[in-house]
């Protein structure tokens, strides 16, 4: 038997009661927008059916999926597993101000040389690398000083969060961390000008032990949130925060006087040799932390290269400008991926050049010219033995010490 009985009600629309097609079939009808429905305790399988949300409603899972084969590109954090370190290749870097360290990770220090950052092979199960911040002294933090690890997410990559609108989405950040110090550190989130901000505690209960953290943050319906190539969202772990910038953990997004830390929080730079490790950082839409999304290394590297590229033996081709430029050659250097913005550029090392007839070495940089492109740039190289003006000029391998750094970081 099949059929429907429709009961019209004056205030809530209608209630539909559907008869089952078989003895085991179950139909659940949600009668009103504010009501909920729960499937019974028997295992249920939805076959050849579509779940549809009426009107402006949406369907959300209230607990995490059990499969680890989740849809890709959930994670808004780039290099969350700390696998890529183009700038320092695993070497320790002393933080002097605002310094990019491992790819996409910006270390900040109000006072120079109080801590270092390094890629580490100490990692929890399932990960190969982490980022470690190490205190270089026992420094008493000034009232307005901050020491932090940050990733600034490009606006395009969080545009779907709908922040600053009535449709702002909840997000969850998850990560593994360990510290030689117990106590509270601070997770901090903000918009581009930090006029909207949110803090949450990161409590280390046991020293030197990897701990998994999951922090769910409500969407911010207010403020201005950029959704273009500029700064979309700050995601920070604040390692030390002066008293001026400490306050209670957020109960919601704030536009009041900014607080970067939780009252009484731990200070990494206050103890010489103290460490803070972090890896597996994931930031995703929704109220549930899903398993870390392991992207292929090449994919992750390409994502990083939108913001920074270190080219060894750069594949440059150009034309000798001869006497016009005092022996320079104007060379074109292509970028591996389209950069976020027209980048800054630096050149180091020694280049070899070939014009089809002879080689020359020992060249140095003469200048850099923008070319107004996010796809490639032009540089001028002084060729030690100047080629004839108009000759084609190619850079080629010279023992691996010629480097071009290209940066379009946020």
């Amino acid at each position: 038997m099949s059929g429907n009985i429709k009961l019209n009600t004056p205030s809530n629309g209608s209630v539909t009661i559907s008869t089952p097609d078989t003895a085991s079939a179950v139909t659940v009808t949600i009668p009103a927008a504010t009501d909920t429905a729960t499937l019974n305790t028997q295992a249920q399988t939805l076959t050849n059916k579509t779940l549809t949300a009426a009107g402006a409603n949406s369907i959300e899972a209230t607990s995490g999926p059990t499969s680890t084969q989740l849809a890709g590109n959930r994670n808004k954090i780039i290099n969350g597993a700390m696998m890529i370190d183009q700038r320092n290749a695993g070497a320790s870097f002393t933080v002097t101000g605002s310094n990019y360290t491992l790819d996409r990770w910006l270390a900040y220090a109000s006072v120079t040389s109080k801590y270092s950052v390094q890629q580490s092979s100490t990692a929890p199960a399932g990960f190969a690398k982490s980022l470690v911040a190490t205190s270089l002294s026992a420094y008493s933090v000034g009232s307005s000083e901050i020491f932090s690890l940050n990733q600034i997410i490009e606006g395009y990559n969080v545009a779907d969060f709908g922040f600053g609108t009535a449709n702002a989405k909840t997000f969850t950040v998850s990560f593994w961390a360990q510290s030689s110090l117990t106590g509270t550190f601070t997770a901090f989130f903000a918009n581009s000008d930090q006029s909207r901000w949110y803090t949450a505690p990161v409590v280390i209960n046991t020293a030197n032990t990897w701990t998994y953290f999951s922090i769910t943050v409500p969407g911010d319906t207010a403020g201005t949130w950029l959704t273009d190539t500029n700064k979309g969202m700050y995601v920070s772990i604040n390692l030390s925060v002066g008293s001026t910038y400490q306050g209670a953990a957020s109960s919601g997004w704030s536009g009041a006087s900014i607080k970067y830390g939780i009252t009484g929080q731990q200070s990494l730079v206050g103890t010489n040799g103290a460490t803070f490790y972090i890896t597996g950082v994931q930031l995703e839409k929704g109220a549930t932390a899903t398993p870390f999304e392991n992207r292929l290394y090449g994919t992750e590297l390409a994502l990083c290269q939108r913001y920074f590229v270190k080219l060894y033996e750069p594949p440059m081709r150009g034309v000798a400008t001869g006497t016009t430029a005092g022996g320079a050659s104007r060379m074109y250097v292509p970028y591996p991926v389209q950069m976020r913005a027209i980048p800054s550029l630096s050149i180091g090392g020694t280049f070899n050049f070939w014009n089809g007839l002879s080689t020359t070495t020992g060249s140095v940089l003469a200048g850099y010219y923008v070319g107004n492109s996010t796809f490639g740039g032009e540089v001028d190289i002084n060729v030690a033995a100047a080629y004839t003006q108009g000759q084609v000029c190619a850079a080629y391998t010279n023992g691996g010490n010629a480097i071009v750094n290209i940066s379009a970081e946020l």
């Binding site: 400008t321 913005a341 800054s344 200048g367 850099y368 923008v370 750094n405 946020l410």
Partner: protein, 70 residues
């Protein structure tokens, strides 16, 4: 301490559309480039900017120059 220097295009002999920072980076005049945003803030606040010959520009010269770039 960071400083900046204007740069000349060796072919056109005109000011290049970039500035050289004292750590060796060339920074284009591109409004979405955060190094460029920082450059404008810093030189407006007194960070030294040299002309192509290495002479430190006066603040009046810097302010006038800033009005000519994006």
């Amino acid at each position: 301490m960071i400083s900046y220097q204007q740069w000349v295009d060796p072919i056109t002999k005109e000011l290049a559309k970039c500035v050289k920072r004292s750590d060796g980076w060339f920074i284009p005049y591109a409004i979405d480039n955060t190094d460029y945003q920082q450059f404008k803030i810093q030189v407006a606040d007194g960070t030294p900017l040299e002309d192509p010959d290495g002479n430190v520009m006066t603040q009046e010269e810097v302010d006038a120059f800033l009005k000519t770039i994006p």
